[in-house]
């Protein structure tokens, strides 16, 4: 596979480099060997229980109602299919071969030497997806991508590249999950997104890991003139630790980024989540909104907006609810304005449900518990188009369980 030698060299040099944020992990603690799962055209090798579990990460094992599907289990590609013209989906290893190493995209946004996780992914790549919407293609149905850990204790190394060519529209729903029998593991995921002139990319990521799984995504996004990048991140289930800090550059006039996250930190979970948007072109706009609940875990909500040119507008919002005695919530909103004429704001609020809000609803006839439920439900309200009904139902169930902790 043609890969620039300097990438390998930089990776080797950084293979022990600790990440700036998040608990440090010993990569040797995780398995790198897994069975090869064979390609499954009709999803025949999945048991019912497994199917139900995948559904909770938004993964429907069907090609119906999807513009395309991609499913990687451990290190193997089990399904990869496109059913709409104008859409290209390939395993990244194939794309690297086909496009001569993807020199314009591969490691162009995420530095290979950022930390030991980026380095390990380059040095021992399992696979990942390459998804591209061709110029002007309007991909009406969502593309479903699944990164799945099926083997106990495995470290999965994934590199994804998404390209929305000029004028295209694309919605990807990525479900990341483990087999129902898996309790521990590590997921390393590099993702590089290219939203070109006038393109529109919605990226919805649902994490449904197991209690002892660590997750270290490394994502970066570039948006050109008039392009729109919308990201939704949902993590409602227990996981050992997630640390990620996607970075978006708005480099073209009028480019837009909106990052939403809905997060529940369960007891034993450590979630260090953030988002950075650099506004480098006039009339670019950004919004980063994090809604975080802790029912006993630690949740860190970071956000950083950087305005480099005049006439940009950006807003950052971190809202946190602590619904248990031991839960920790840490909100770190940052704004950097580098010139006059930027319009940037932030809002951060951490606390319990306000008594005033509960009483207001009680004055309308709700009991105290019903009032609190209504407020939590509103807080975690997830309205994302294209989510499968089964996932919506599961989100609803999770909210109900969360309310029980009140």
């Amino acid at each position: 596979m043609p890969v620039l030698p300097e990438l390998k060299e930089a990776a080797v040099k950084s293979k022990d480099k600790k990440a700036a944020l998040g608990p440090d992990l010993d990569l040797l603690q995780f398995r790198r060997q897994a069975q090869d799962w064979s390609y499954d055209e009709k999803y025949a090798s999945f048991e019912e229980q497994e199917k139900q579990h995948l559904l909770r990460a938004g993964i429907e094992l069907t090609d119906l109602d999807h513009a395309g599907t991609f499913l990687q289990a451990d290190r193997s590609i089990m399904h990869c299919k496109t059913s709409q013209p104008g859409l290209e989906i390939l395993p990244i290893k194939e794309a690297l071969k086909k496009y001569n190493g993807l020199p314009d995209y591969y490691w162009r946004l995420v530095p290979v030497d950022a930390d030991k996780y980026t380095a390990a992914t380059e040095l021992e790549l399992d696979n990942g997806y390459f998804i591209r919407a061709l110029p002007g293609a309007r991909i009406s149905q969502p593309v479903e991508a699944c990164l799945y850990i099926r083997t106990e204790g495995l470290a999965q190394h994934v590199h994804n590249i998404v390209v929305a060519e000029p004028g295209s529209h694309l919605h990807i729903i990525t479900g990341c999950t483990t087999h129902p029998g898996v309790t521990s593991g590590l997921h390393l995921g590099i993702s590089e997104f290219y939203v070109k002139k006038g393109a529109h990319l919605t990226f919805t990521m649902v994490h449904n890991w197991a209690e002892n799984v660590h997750v270290r995504p490394r994502s970066a996004i570039i948006v050109e003139e008039g392009g729109v990048y919308l990201s939704n991140y949902i993590v409602l289930k227990p996981v050992k630790s997630v640390q990620m800090y996607p970075s978006v550059r708005l480099v073209g006039e009028g480019a837009v980024a909106r990052l939403n996250s809905v997060v529940v930190a369960h007891p034993g979970s450590e979630l260090d989540l953030g988002g950075r948007v650099v506004l480098e072109a006039p009339h670019s706009r950004a919004e980063v909104i994090a809604r975080t609940v802790t029912t006993g875990g630690t949740a860190i909500a970071r956000g950083h907006l950087i305005g480099k040119v005049p006439n940009i507008k950006a807003h950052l919002e971190c809202r946190g609810l602590i619904l248990a005695k031991q839960g920790i919530m840490y909100a770190v909103p940052e704004l950097t304005g580098e010139v006059a004429g930027v319009e940037m704001s932030h809002e951060a609020a951490v606390g319990r449900i306000a008594q005033e809000e509960i009483e207001y609803l009680m004055a309308r006839g709700l009991t105290e518990d019903e009032a609190a439920s209504t407020i939590v439900r509103g807080f975690l309200n997830v309205e994302i188009e294209g989510l499968p009904q089964a996932l919506r139902d599961d989100i609803e169930r999770t909210i109900q369980e969360t309310e029980k902790g009140l």
Binding site: R364, E368, I375
Partner: protein, 244 residues
Amino acid sequence: MFQIEDLWVSIDDKEVLKGINLHIKKGETHALFGKNGSGKTTLLMTIMGFGRYQVRQGRITFLGHDITHMPTYERAQLGIGMAFQRPPTIRGVKTKDILKVCAGGKMSVTALAFEYGFENFLDREINHGFSGGEIKKSELLQLVAQDPKLVLLDEPESGVDLESLQLIGQIIRRVLQKDLRRVDRHKAGLIITHTGYILNYLNADMGHVMAGGQIACQGHPMDILEHVKKSGYEECVRCLCFQN
């Protein structure tokens, strides 16, 4: 229908209401006047049963029930409804969700919103970014949906422009069944008003002036208002103390 006897209330151990007596009959609307800090809002909040307002002494009865220590939601279910002066914003909770709670399936909230040109607010988060007038409209439509027997209104006209005031007046008339003959009305109302403008849209039967946590004066609301406009609250209270 509704009676308060010798009500003493503290907020954070500070005595705010000092021996209130009030009696409202079915079909009546009473107006509450008084300077800022005289205890008007505290009285309404206490009637609604909010936690901060500690009843030290006295009794509140409604439709034959002693509600003095009843939880807020039971009071609401019994038929007491309140339009707040400054209601909280609840992020993520939509106006239509609350209207549905108020209506309890008894009416279509969409139809109600269309009737008063409020349909664009149904999907908005309750009170988030609402103007003063929009807040009042939202509060009153919640009351229309809730259809309470005792209606508590905390300054329904504050922050409302003159044009919208007429509509606010109309909605209040509806909530209080003002277009029915008095004998046919099942509702009663207690309205806090600073300016008295709202009284141009509905006749109040009785006015009370509060001062220092007490009802210092009672009389015809228009007379009181005229007196206050001419001589101020101090003079009004003094005059009535003299009368008493």
